[in-house]
């Protein structure tokens, strides 16, 4: 139980502190132009990194598997239809189907 408490309490504290740093340090200030440009481009950089580290990597090695194909198919769905839910469902369904083969 003590391990659970330390894990959960520690995770909660670390997450809260990390999420608070930016708002405390930069809150209420006017944005300079260069900062606005940087912020606009942060989302594509971070999201692309999240996608590839989860769909093309397994731990610390690069790996292509059923989930890679599933995510790619999900991407095609959202690109064609704009449906986020469809994207997720197709990704999970294709991944499951490929693993079942």
């Amino acid at each position: 139980m003590s391990t659970s408490l330390a894990l959960i309490g520690g995770c909660a504290l670390i997450t809260a502190v990390i999420k608070a740093v930016g708002p405390i340090a930069l809150g209420g200030r006017e944005l300079p132009d260069w900062f606005s440009s940087l912020v606009v481009l942060l989302a594509p950089a971070l999201l692309a990194a999240l996608v590839v580290t989860q769909a093309l990597a397994d731990g610390d090695r690069l790996a292509i598997g059923p989930d890679t194909a599933g995510v790619a198919a999900g991407g095609a769905v959202v690109y064609k239809t704009g449906s986020f839910i469809g994207c997720v469902i197709v990704a999970a369904a294709l991944t499951a189907a490929l693993r079942a083969v």
């Binding site: 608070a20 260069w34 971070l46 999240l50 995510v71």
Partner: protein, 241 residues
């Protein structure tokens, strides 16, 4: 997600909290599916169903939760799990820095508002000009929080019935969810270029850096926004707004 206005169209009313909730529904459904997986996997780390649900309720940071639980389940110590969770969460430093100027109030209030940030709500709340809408942020985070905790509860209590989440392909839901956000966000050559650079940086670092670091370092791809041309575009946009 950028809010665009048509030339000559009447100005739209600012988004409400309810608009945020509505915008967050697709992400909440996807997040709910993913959190079922978390609920099932946490059992392998020795967490009781109650502890698992509490973790989702007070941490509310999916990638950090998955990472921490996976390390403990693999025999690692709590210290290692917390360090990895911190690295996984490090992208919130960049997101929080971006969000900070859009948050009013004293430091404590801003810190409290910053707790609502998750990946999808941060993207949804972005106005596309470097500022963020708080109603979209809070509303979309709230609905995602509800399904995150609900999904965790289902996974924690019904894990034996559900079986192996990987057989259901649920591990593909999270990256698919991020890819959907990326496709909606990365329209236009410059954003696509930054996305490609961010992906390349992350892939190069995966084999050599601890989990979480590749994503944080990939945020440096946004420095492409500091080129003279992009700064001129930002200035022109703010002058025409």
């Amino acid at each position: 997600m950028a809010v665009t206005e048509r030339p000559g169209a009447p100005p739209e009313a600012p988004p409400t909290f309810r608009d945020g909730v509505r915008a967050g529904v697709p992400f909440a459904i996807a997040g709910g599916l993913v959190s079922i997986t978390f609920g099932v996997l946490a059992d392998s780390a020795g967490l009781s169903p109650l502890a698992t649900i509490v973790m989702s309720a007070i941490v509310y940071a999916g990638s950090a939760q998955f990472t921490a639980v996976a390390i403990v389940a693999g025999g690692g110590g709590v210290g290692a799990a917390l360090a990895a969770a911190a690295l996984m969460n490090s992208r919130f430093l960049a997101m929080g820095a971006a969000l900070g100027p859009s948050l009013p109030g004293n430091a404590l209030k801003r810190a409290a508002q910053g707790q609502t940030v998750v990946d999808a709500s941060w993207v949804l709340a972005s106005r596309g000009d470097g500022t963020f809408d708080r109603n979209l942020l809070f509303g979309s985070s709230a609905i995602q929080y509800v399904t995150w905790v609900s999904g965790t509860t289902i996974g924690a209590l019904a894990g034996d019935v559900l079986g192996d989440p990987e057989k259901l392909g649920l591990d593909a839901a999270y990256p698919a969810f991020f890819l959907a956000l990326l496709i909606s966000e990365a329209r236009g050559g410059r954003r696509l270029g930054v996305a490609a650079l961010g992906a390349a940086i992350a892939l190069v670092l995966v084999p050599v850096a601890p989990a979480g670091v590749p994503v944080l370092v990939a945020s440096l791809a946004a420095l492409a926004g500091l080129t003279r041309k992009a700064r001129a575009e930002a200035r022109a946009k703010s002058e025409s707004a």
